[in-house]
């Protein structure tokens, strides 16, 4: 499935750039899942995360001509747009920061049996900006250069942000344990 998607990308990209919305939808289809996971962790709210992905998709569609590079650039570019949409969502709803800081359990999870780990609690205490590099590196398992492009920084700076945020979770981590 992924192979087929990758093969379809060059032509889909050309058609999308020419204004074909269906082609663009085909392009970003495999990116919706990681984009949602990124947004859900940044916003701590699944509904707001889906809104952010939808808004991010529309903005990406409108800005598609600004995309530079090959089809491989699409994922970090799209994720950076969704991350920015999350930042804007938090600004728009600054009054509900307290509510958004309360992490919702995923559908199906039993809140009475859910035992929150120390790591989970520490993760919740991080700011969304601190969670972002961790999500990209650990949860979405992106290579370092894609993390850097999503964050809009150099690979060295991305590495530094990942390590710094990871150390906020566990202070005795060494770089070798993170990378």
């Amino acid at each position: 499935m992924m192979t087929a998607t990758m093969e379809e990308r060059p032509s889909a990209m050309a058609r999308a750039t020419a204004g074909d919305a269906d082609a663009f939808a085909l392009l970003i289809e495999p990116l919706l899942d990681p984009a949602f996971r990124l947004a859900a962790v940044m916003l701590s709210d699944r509904t707001a995360a889906e809104d952010a992905v939808q808004e991010g998709s529309i903005k990406a569609w409108r800005k598609l001509r600004q995309l530079r590079g090959d089809a491989g650039s699409l994922r970090p570019w799209f994720l950076s747009i969704v991350a920015n949409e999350c930042r804007m969502a938090r600004r728009r709803h600054w009054w509900s920061v307290v509510k958004m800081a309360d992490v919702q359990l995923p559908a199906g999870a039993d809140p009475t049996t859910e035992v929150e780990s120390d790591l989970h609690r520490a993760l919740r205490r991080l700011s969304p900006e601190e969670r972002l590099p961790l999500v990209l590196h650990f949860y979405l398992d992106l290579p370092l250069d894609e993390v850097a492009r999503t964050l809009g920084v150099s690979p060295a700076a991305a590495k530094s942000r990942i390590y710094r945020a990871a150390r906020r979770l566990r202070s005795d981590l060494t770089p070798e344990e993170v990378f």
Binding site: A21, R46, W61, L169
Partner: protein
């Protein structure tokens, strides 16, 4: 905890926060994409936009220059009834020193997190100064709390730290962080006439605190300056 178990536990925590998207997300995005046509502004729109931006820049420039002095004064904490103004040189544009409590100042257009990228100290005739510089805009609020000793709480650890001096001033900055863009010292032992030491007391969850160790209980003033955006705190000597 090994590297692998750290990764596994971290991903488990992420999974608890997120989980997969709803099956309807894909259809929802497709539907949203089919509604608006992509904006493809032509050259005339582009030129008009550039012209509008230039006009806006000129208007803002004139506004900033004409209001520069007033801007300084508007951030003076001396507006509080409890604050007692202290005489300042008549030719100075700087706000008056206040003794006692003061109202917090803040920016209405604060970024989500204002990144501190420099902290400097200096001594001048009649006052000592600490300047905190921000990379991307002023923070949402800054509060100063004068205290009768130089012992502060190191947050979030909770232990007490005693700085040089016999009095203190706590600087509480909300909506800021000091670990993204700042790589400088977090403890300045200055030994100026009144500001003896400045030390970071918190950089956690969007709150940055600096404790200032003072040689005596002193009056102070706080104001902001632009280009670059910075917070200036002067502690009166003499």
């Amino acid at each position: 905890m090994t590297n692998e178990s750290f990764r596994r536990d971290l991903n488990r925590a992420f999974e608890a926060m997120s989980g997969p998207p709803s099956p309807a997300l894909s259809a929802r995005v497709r539907s949203a994409l089919s509604e608006p046509a992509p904006a493809r502004p032509g050259p005339s729109f582009w030129i008009a936009g550039l012209a509008a931006a230039l006009i806006a820049a000129i208007v803002i420039g004139v506004f900033v220059v004409s209001n520069f002095n007033r801007h300084l004064t508007s951030n003076v904490p001396g507006a509080l009834p409890s604050a007692s103004p202290v005489q300042t040189p008549p030719d100075s544009n700087l706000p008056a020193f206040v003794c006692g409590s003061s109202a917090p100042i803040g920016s209405q257009n604060a970024p989500l997190s204002a990144y501190i990228d420099a902290v400097r100290t200096g001594t001048h005739s009649g006052y000592d100064r600490i300047t905190i510089e921000f990379q991307n805009g002023l923070p949402s609020s800054v509060d100063l709390r004068l205290q009768g000793n130089s012992t502060f709480t190191n947050s979030p650890r909770g232990d007490n730290v005693t700085l040089a001096g016999s009095a203190g001033l706590l600087v509480v900055i909300k909506g800021a962080d000091e670990h993204t863009a700042y790589i400088g010292a977090t403890d300045f032992k200055t030994n100026y006439p009144v500001l003896l030491e400045a030390r970071q007391m918190e950089d956690f969850e969007g709150t940055v605190q600096w404790g200032l160790g003072l040689s005596k209980s002193a009056c102070y003033r706080m104001f902001t300056l632009a280009s670059p955006q910075r917070l200036v705190i002067d502690v009166q000597a003499g």
